[in-house]
């Protein structure tokens, strides 16, 4: 009766195995520093333009939408604190993670998937190198380090975007009111949440991307399938993880 659960449970188990091996390889020699820095460049520097744009616009849009609602209650001065809370706690980490998932989980899945179907992963094993250590661990480290950095950049630019809308454009409040209210709204709890989330999302993106890449079968079509699945599954996990973290932090 529960046969339909067999495949997803088995693949989740495989995923946990891969994750376990990848984490243990992070601390094990040899370390492939060149691969880590190359991945940091691809994931971190490569995602900067899109993260900057999205950050700016998401802040600006929240400010625009909120200004109407807040005006109705005569609370337009609160725009700074609302924007900073939503951005730092929730939208900054989640939006950035979704963008990076779209960009890099797919990239990892297709790169590793192509290597798998052309026997390059077997070649790697035959040449005496561990594909998990050489391919997965560097991507895991790079994404887990770069995503929090990208999120901070996105948060800051979101605040700038909201500032541009609420101060020079709509003239809701003064510049100093905006910045002090948005800064005062944040407590350590928010910052912790805003940094733990991208760290966790980064791990999810790298592991899901590599997992679907490494288990690719069935030629070029298989690579396409692995890529799509990696993005979909990584996105779902991001939403699920953010819900769980919110639940924990709300109770703190």
């Amino acid at each position: 009766m529960l046969a339909f659960l067999k495949t997803p449970v088995a693949s989740f188990q495989e995923f946990l195995f891969l994750a376990g091996k990848a984490f243990s390889n992070v601390f094990r020699r040899p370390h492939y520093y060149d691969d880590v820095s190359l991945q940091m460049d691809i994931i971190g520097v490569g995602s900067l333009p899109i993260v900057i744009l999205t950050g700016l616009f998401s802040g600006a849009i929240i400010a625009l939408q909120m200004s109407r609602a807040l005006n109705a209650y005569g609370a337009a001065s609160q725009v700074g604190s609302i924007v900073s809370l939503t951005l730092v706690r929730e939208l900054g980490p989640v939006l950035t993670a979704l963008l990076v998932a779209g960009r890099n989980a797919s990239g990892m899945a297709s790169e590793l998937g192509s290597m798998k179907v052309t026997e390059q992963i077997d070649a790697m094993r035959a040449l005496g190198t561990d594909p998990i250590q050489k391919l997965v661990a560097p991507r895991l480290i790079a994404t887990a380090v770069m995503l929090p950095c990208l999120t901070v950049i996105s948060d800051v630019l979101g605040l700038v975007g909201a500032y541009l809308v609420s101060v020079p454009l709509l003239r809701l409040i003064t510049s100093s009111e905006y910045w002090s209210s948005s800064w005062r709204a944040l407590v350590y709890n928010d910052l912790a949440q805003g940094l733990i989330k991208p760290l966790l999302f980064g791990m999810i993106i790298a592991l899901v991307g590599c997992f679907y890449g490494i288990r690719t079968t069935g030629g070029t079509q298989g690579v396409g399938h692995a890529t799509t699945q990696a993005v979909v599954v990584a996105s779902i996990w991001i939403f699920f993880a953010t819900f769980v973290i919110d639940k924990i932090f709300v109770n703190l």
């Binding site: 040899p30 492939y32 290597m115 052309t118 026997e119 390059q120 077997d122 070649a123 094993r125 035959a126 040449l127 005496g128 190198t129 561990d130 250590q133 050489k134």
Partner: protein, 275 residues
Amino acid sequence: MAEQSEPVVEFQNVNSRFGNQWALHDVSFGLRAGETRIILGAAGSGKTTLLKAAIGLVQPDSGTISLFGEKVTNRKERDLFALRTKAGVLFQEGGLFDSLTVRENVEYPLVNQQTAERLPSDEVERRVREALRFVELEQTLDQFPSELSGGMRRRVGIARAIVTEPPLVLYDSPTAGLDPITANTIMALIAKERDVRRTASLIVTHRFQDGELMANFRYNPENEELVPVEELEHADPAKARTKFFVMQDGEIVFTGTLEQLEETTDPYVKRFGKH
């Protein structure tokens, strides 16, 4: 004496199934230093599986396989990496990393192997150039595999397999899909590698001529060419060191020398002999 030495590769009653088809069925043999085995057989008869099992890339269902006296079967993947560095492998299509240049491909085993001591970069460069000179492709250092012809890719694959100077080299269909002239060049390189460094070789192929060349020719380092064994002053007793296997449905149905293969009456085995 090589004959008394411990086998480099040893299979004992190895069985492996894919679904309800045998990939390897009761396979037992030993390969000693300096020996060559030519593995012939129809597509899907288990030739590639045999090669992959030898270095633990696939694990059989039963039986034991040892490499340099160490067990490969029932070992953790992690423990096998060091052992695999002693074997060079040429994959069916070369198995090159397509996003790395020829130089990076050939130096890959030198700079990435788990057990590799950090070689100084000029030593790496020297050995990469030496391996590429061996296959006569030194000029392609900075090209990508996609820019090379099929035969050249195969030769780069050989350079990568031998750059660490392994005592055992496995070749998976080194001449598949190549024209006869290029195929001969590749086989000449394999014979040269065997004779210059006395490596043990397992060669999977579907061309009888490949095995014939390995059995009948020796590399003469003086004028740098292959000469027929008969022309050598001291007739090489090693002719018998090149043996042929013929596989059918995972089973080794024939073992013997070139002459024995030519004289066989078995209708299946005969198809892989000289016509």
